[in-house]
Subunit: 696 residues, 2 copies
């Protein structure tokens, strides 16, 4: 068992408990059933992870059922729960069939319910203690969401191997693109002492299936560079100990120029012998303190960060040098593909930032060591509310890949707006790349189903901070949870995930569940409606990225343009007449994007310059569509608010008031978006709204 | 004499010496003449200020002439210089006629050259030691600029009473709107110890005629609030001692809410007895440490600062409360009129920020104590490259007034662009307000010539920082110098001031002087050409205000709009159909601004919404004018650079390279301005340049 006590955070609000709330079952029948069933628990396993799982079981069952079961090594009565691992217990092994055992992977679990002699017997087992832990967390989830004992039985293995959370936390305590307070790890250039909160965080992550975490920002500054030195390594080890107890591997973002900055070398050239030796020694050093250290996350040659380009080397050279150092210890290198020219001249229409990741990395396919993963942003730009899927995914065949998503709502309302992102992620995961013929969806590539690479999985930039409710907007917890659940199983639907989260967070009252589910499921589309139309993106204020500014990035160096004039808007990315980006996809996809008629309308302006008078399939002109969706988006926020108002008395008062306040802010700000966008296009075109609504 | 030694700054560059360079006279004839004339100096005066003047004379004459004159109390030979004050020496008094004495004000000086018996005798005298000091500084200026002895004689009094410099320095060392490094006064929440540099700064200011300084930012934060407490008062007194030695009064910006923040009171209500008493006690306290303390500078109820509005009081109530406290000690309250609604809704066209200062302060005319001055920004907005004169000036009749200018180039290129502001200030000073009939120019109002108020004068936000050359761009020293000279005598021409500055800074070589003078005099117009057209302003990036962004402030809360659509641009501020701002001027002025035809074209878009097809007096359409001036502006910067390149070898190499680097940056950035502005209007109108030049 971890040496850190599980404790409630001092704020003590129910929002702090997130999806580990374990409120008492409302269904009296089920309550009685489970009280009966779970009077006794036999534990056939001894390890830190299992002890944490047992602890969670105690906390959970006391909350859910109001009982303190008897824990022993063997059941004394007919009814009860047995938990253990195949590896750790012959008895458990003996309870399972050969088929069952074969179907359990390293992190998989089985829950099996049997009725014998009028009594119920429940088994939760894993091949390993990690699997067992997931089994326990899932059992608690299933009870909380009112699953009948007869419906509990299942075998589950996580679909994805790496299920990663990235923190963009700086050691001064700030969080890049953080909207929920300060870092939970760092403060004033120190690793903070609030280990009990970090333990609670590890519980939350493990409960949802996360197994990897990078704790510091990919932009590694002066002090963060020292995380892999005596100054900080012991404190990093302490954090690792907490996460280890929940089966979570800890990674650090490192500074590619470490040899220069802390290594007393005059180069960071990845082919230089001294540099390579320095990193080997550094890896030995790190593993001597943290034997199960995960590895390095690296942002190189991007937005001013150092990298192999400085020395005329490739990114494969850079990544492989680090991989070689970590390899003897089983460590991984996760190398980000967010590399582009951020000193672009807006006048030059031949350069296209969207092309950059493919152009840089596609020639390197097959050249990376087998313990290197490329971490690829879902879209070619940067987490806009709507982007096509990166053409790298489905093109790279001989390279380990992580899909990078963004939970923190940098461009999607910064946790002041409700924007449930799971439907967006689902569209990405289900996108057919045709990378290995029809049906090569993104989720099949990153799960390694298609190309059978060594490693694969999910990564995402988290929305967590030290706000009492973790995520600023309490309902943004649904995104943290939803991401983790999708990483575990990308076939779960947006609706299922929403419903799980609501039932764990608020209530099982089906009317309430339906209302909140409706709110969540409609929120992304509403946000898209009142912000940036048809895939064009970037109509935001520079730097902080909050709020409307149509020309904010139009004449800037970042490669982010809409090219609107008085006749039309959009970026021509066709092969025929544009930047050629559409040609980076496989033929079947490229043909669709290349064609103005076939291009999915939600991405129309990403791929084509389109006159305002162009008729969409709905019959609306492009301009009228912009007006209509912006008016509609605000109406949808008004509906969100009305729906929430109907929940007064049905959710806790502090939660009710907190969410209401955010929704009111969202409503006011959505009007700001509507009016600025509509006014911009009215002023530019002189063509009024056909319905005569007020545009300023 | 001040206890601080005059020393060169450690950087030791010639740029550090600014207009006190005292380089050796190039004209051999004059050099011989002055060496002869100034072998001996008699000083009939003893005070700190005079000692500083004598010290300056020694430094100056050694530099200019290479001599170390004999200093005594009486001349021994026929030739020589006598300096002293009427107040301090009967002998000096005896040398002057009654008329001469009558014409000398408190800060005035006389320089008189007489030839007797084939020898020259020079007299420099003031009524007071301050006047004497100005006389000495002016003598050195006249010699440096190659004035023959026969042309030295003059009597001068400063036209304006208060000649004030405002520092927007924060005590953490940052400078709000500073573009020349960090504060020269403050660092890490301490008053810095570099007193020798501050002494040099005081010399520079006094040499140009400044007699008042406010050392801290008008936005008074936590630590600055403590400047009037034990924590800092002794260090403030040390700074005061330096400035005192050069006749400069020291002011502090204060926090109107001091009683709340450091006074243990629960209110800052200016009519509350305890608050009034607190400020009286505070004034007593300050004067016990600094007997000649100048007074308070106050920004209240502005951009989030606290003020009397919080308590339903007027600004007269607020200012008079402080004035009452300072009055027994002879202190002044300088109260800024920069009060407006900075939470404006861009959709609401009835509110006009330009109206705010007049609307707030005009009803209070005559209600301020006689030791209160209102500090009024030159224009109604905020230091744009072109604004009309504030209608408050010429309307207030019974109120002491300071004109506030901005030397620091917040909106005029941030000292990366060359922009000599004296011509702009001259236009402001010569503007006829008709406040007391025709001829009531701004300069006559603030000099108190028109309304005979108690106090008046100039204030300006400085461009000084701790860069080795003080101002970032070395040529920006011309603005610091020019401001001070205009405050002394607003009838000096832009050309005269430029020429003085060039001759003191670089050389008396008339070819070089002419080239640099041409560069300075054309630079404001060039900057206006390639930036924001015809008085509309605000086409800059928000917050930092550098670089083009046409819509940057268009949909924001700051009240700063251009209202451009596809047909035209401009803000209708007429009485007939607009915000009514034009009606705040006296009838003769209002009629001109109200009329589209009569309105000066450089302010056309400030007062009128004008179609792009409108023909200007030149025959160009408004749109073509925008294109033409933006192409022209860049050409002018190209000319600036070419002119400077011609000076290689004629100015010091480090200066040459430094200015060249800035000009190259300006050239590149002016193209950015040109292309973004032109593209914006081309995209909005679809109408190409008549001359077919490249617009992107």
């Amino acid at each position: 068992m971890s040496n850190v006590k599980v404790a409630n955070h001092k704020t003590g609000t129910s929002m702090y408990k997130a999806w580990l709330k374990y409120y008492r079952l409302e269904n009296k029948e089920l309550l009685t059933l489970y009280k009966q069933l779970l009077r006794e628990v036999a534990v056939a396993e001894d390890s830190v992870i299992t002890a944490n799982a047992v602890n969670e079981l105690k906390t959970g069952l006391y909350g859910l059922l109001g009982i303190k079961p008897v824990f022993s090594s063997e059941l004394t009565g007919e009814a009860g729960l047995v938990i253990g691992t195949i590896e750790g217990s012959k008895e458990i092994s003996g309870l399972l069939s050969a088929d069952e055992k074969d179907s359990l992977g390293e992190e998989g679990f089985i829950i099996r319910f049997k009725t014998e002699n009028n009594a119920g017997r429940l088994l939760v087992a894993g091949k390993t203690n990690k699997g067992l832990m997931y089994g326990v967390f899932n059992l608690l989830r299933l009870i909380q969401t009112e699953t009948a004992p007869q419906a509990l039985s299942r075998i589950e293995n996580p679909v994805n191997q790496l299920r990663t959370i990235n923190h963009w936390d700086n050691i001064d305590g700030s969080v890049e693109r953080g909207y929920a307070g300060r870092s939970i790890f760092f403060k004033n250039n120190k690793i903070t002492g609030n280990l009990s909160r970090i333990n609670d965080y590890a519980r939350m992550l493990a409960a949802a299936g996360i197994n990897t975490i990078a704790i510091n920002n990919v932009n590694v500054h002066e002090f963060e560079t020292l995380l892999i030195t005596d100054k900080y390594i012991k404190d990093v080890a302490k954090l690792n100990e907490i996460f280890r107890g929940y089966g979570i591997k800890l990674f650090l973002s490192i500074n590619f120029a470490s040899t220069l900055e802390i290594g007393n070398l005059e180069t960071a050239d990845p082919l230089d012998g001294n540099v390579r030796q320095w990193w080997k020694d550094k890896a030995d050093y790190i593993y001597s303190h943290i034997p199960d250290f995960g590895g390095f996350l690296v942002k190189a040659d991007s937005e001013g960060r150092p990298g192999p380009f400085t020395y005329g080397r490739t990114h494969a050279d850079g990544a492989n040098m680090l991989a070689e150092a970590l390899k003897p210890h089983g460590g991984l290198v996760i190398w980000r593909c967010f590399v582009y020219n951020c000193q672009q001249d807006w006048r030059d229409r031949t350069i296209d930032r969207a092309r950059a990741a493919y152009d840089h990395f596609m020639p390197l396919d097959g050249k990376f060591q087998d313990n290197v993963l490329l971490q690829i942003k879902n879209g070619p730009m940067d987490f806009q509310v709507r982007e096509p899927v990166s053409p790298l995914i489905g093109s790279l065949k001989k390279t380990n890949q992580l899909l990078e998503l963004q939970i923190t709502q940098e461009y999607t309302g910064q946790q002041r707006h409700l924007c449930y992102l799971v439907p967006m992620w689902k569209e990405i995961l289900d996108f057919d790349t045709y990378g290995n013929g029809k049906g090569t969806t993104v989720k099949k590539i990153i799960s390694r189903d298609t190309f059978k690479n060594n490693y694969g999985g999910f990564a995402a930039v988290t929305n967590i901070g030290d706000d009492a409710n973790w995520t600023g907007h309490q309902m943004a917890q649904a995104n943290t949870y939803g991401y983790a659940r999708l990483a575990w199983n990308p076939d779960l639907s947006s609706e299922e995930i929403a419903e799980e989260w609501i039932r764990r967070t608020y209530t099982n009252d089906s009317k309430v569940v339906d209302i909140i589910k409706g709110m969540l499921l409609g929120s992304w589309k509403a946000y898209e409606n009142y912000t940036s139309p048809l895939g064009i993106g970037w109509m935001v204020n520079p730097n902080h990225h909050y709020g409307p500014n149509v020309d904010g990035y139009e004449y800037d160096k970042w490669g982010t343009y809409h090219r609107a004039d008085h006749k039309g808007i959009g970026v021509d990315r066709t092969v025929k007449s544009g930047t050629g980006y559409a040609g980076q996809y496989h033929k079947e996809v490229a043909e669709v994007y290349e064609s103005l008629e076939k291009c999915p309308e939600e991405l129309l302006l990403f791929f084509h310059y389109v006159p305002y008078a162009y008729r969409l399939k709905s019959g609306e002109t492009l301009l009228q569509y912009i007006y209509n969706t912006h008016f509609r988006g605000v109406e949808q926020v008004e509906e969100l608010k009305q729906n929430w108002l109907g929940l007064k008395g049905k959710v806790e008062e502090d939660v009710f008031l907190h969410v209401l306040e955010r929704l009111e802010g969202q409503l006011s700000h959505s009007k700001e978006w509507r009016d600025i966008i509509n006014t911009y296009f009215l002023r530019k075109t002189g063509i009024p709204d056909e319905l005569g609504r007020k545009i300023y």
